[in-house]
Symmetry: C2
Amino acid sequence: MRGAEELRELVEDALAELTFAGPAGLDEAVRHALDGGGKRIRPVLTLAVGEALGSEPRELLPAACAVELVHTFSLVHDDLPALDDDDTRRGRPSTWAQFGEAVAVLAGDALLTEAFRLALSYETPLVARELADGTLGMIGGQYLDVTESAADLASLNRLKTGRLFEASVLVALRVRGSEPRTWGRFAESVGALFQLVDDLLDGDGFVAAHGVEETRRLADESAERALAALDEIDADTSVLRGLVEGLATRTA
Amino acid sequence: MRGAEELRELVEDALAELTFAGPAGLDEAVRHALDGGGKRIRPVLTLAVGEALGSEPRELLPAACAVELVHTFSLVHDDLPALDDDDTRRGRPSTWAQFGEAVAVLAGDALLTEAFRLALSYETPLVARELADGTLGMIGGQYLDVTESAADLASLNRLKTGRLFEASVLVALRVRGSEPRTWGRFAESVGALFQLVDDLLDGDGFVAAHGVEETRRLADESAERALAALDEIDADTSVLRGLVEGLATRTA
C-alpha cells in the first residue's frame, strides 16, 4: 500500500503531464497557477480513498487532478484584486500579478473547464456530477465570504472548504461505481479538520473568533470524528488514518 | 414541426424555471445575467437540430440551456473592467456594474458550473464533453482577443464565437447518441455567419478590417455554405434553413 508521500508524488507527476487545449500564452498562465506547489491534499485524499478500496492510482488520477484543478481555479479567482487582492501566493507572484487581471480571469475559467474535461474522461457522468456539486458549494461559500453574509464561520467553512474536500472523497467512490453511504461523515470531518488547522496556523478565522484553545479543541474533535468514521468503514483505511493524523498535527 | 419563435419561447420558459444551488444573493446575480434577454440563438439552434432529427424539445432543453449558460458566463466575465469594461449590456447594468466585480466573477463561475450540472443530467458524458470542448475553445478565443495575439480575425472568431456555436449543434446530436459526421460543416458555417452579421450590425471586427462589402460577401458565402451543408443531411432541416436565412438577414 502506498503512503501519503508516494501518492503526492504521483499527483505531482500527473499534474506535470497534463496538457491544456488553449493558446500558448493562456496555457502558460494556467501552468503558473498549477505549478505553485502546495500540499495537494485534496487529490492525495482521492487517491488514498481509492487505495483503501483497492483501486489503482492510475484509475483515479484524472478525478484527483480534476479536484486539484478546481482548487487551483478558486485560488486564481480569489487572488484577484476585486476579491482577496493577493499579489503573491506561496512566495511567487499570483496569477493576476504575473499575467494581468484579464488573463487571470480567463486562466481561472480555463482551469475550471479543464477540470470538467478530466472528470469527463470517465464513462460515468457521476464523477463530474460530484465535482460540479462540490464546486457550486465552494463558489457559494466564497460568495458568503466576500459579501460577509454567512450566518456563522462553521457554515461558511462547510461550503467554502468543506464541499470540495467532500468531493475529493466522493469522486474516488464514483470512479469505482460505489455509493457514498458510510463515507459522508469522514468526508465532512476531514474538511472541517483541514480548515480549523489552517486557521490555527494562520491565526485567523476560528482563531480570531474563538481563540486558539477552542479552535484546537474543535480541530481535535474533527480528527476524532474522522477517525471514528473510518472505523465504521469496511476497508483498509490505514493510509487515510495517517493522513488524518498528519492533518491534525501539521505545522505548515 | 415547431418554428424558431416557438423554440425560443420554450428556451425562455426553461431558463426562467432553472433553479440554482447557490446562496440567495449569488443566485440573484446569476438570474440578472441570465434574464437580460438576447436572441437565445444558440439554444434555439440546439432545439432546431433536435427537431430535424425528430427529438422532442423536452429531451434537449437541459443541453440547450447549458449552452446558453456558458454563453452568459462568458458575457459576465467579458464585461468585467479588466476585460471589455462594459457597464451596460442590452440596456441594463452589466452584472459587475449591478453587483460589484467580486460577485460578478463568482456569478460567472457559478453559471459555468451550473452549465455543466445541466449537461451532466444526461446519462452519457458526451453532452458535457462537447460543452467542455466548446467552452475551452471559446475561452482560448477570448484570450487571443484580450491579448490581441490572434493570427487573424477569422481564426479568432472560429474560436471565440465558432466553438460554442459548434457545441450548440453537437450537443443535440450527443443527446441522441448520434455521431457529428455530416453536421460539422453546418455547425462551423453557422457560427461564422452569426459573427460576420454581428460585425455588420456593429460596424466593427471584419467590417473595420475589410469593409462592409467584403464582410457582406463573406456572410452570404457562410449562409450558402450552411445551407449547402444542410442539403447533405438526411433529415427535415426546414426550421434550420429558416434559422440560417434569419441569421443572414437579421437587423438586430
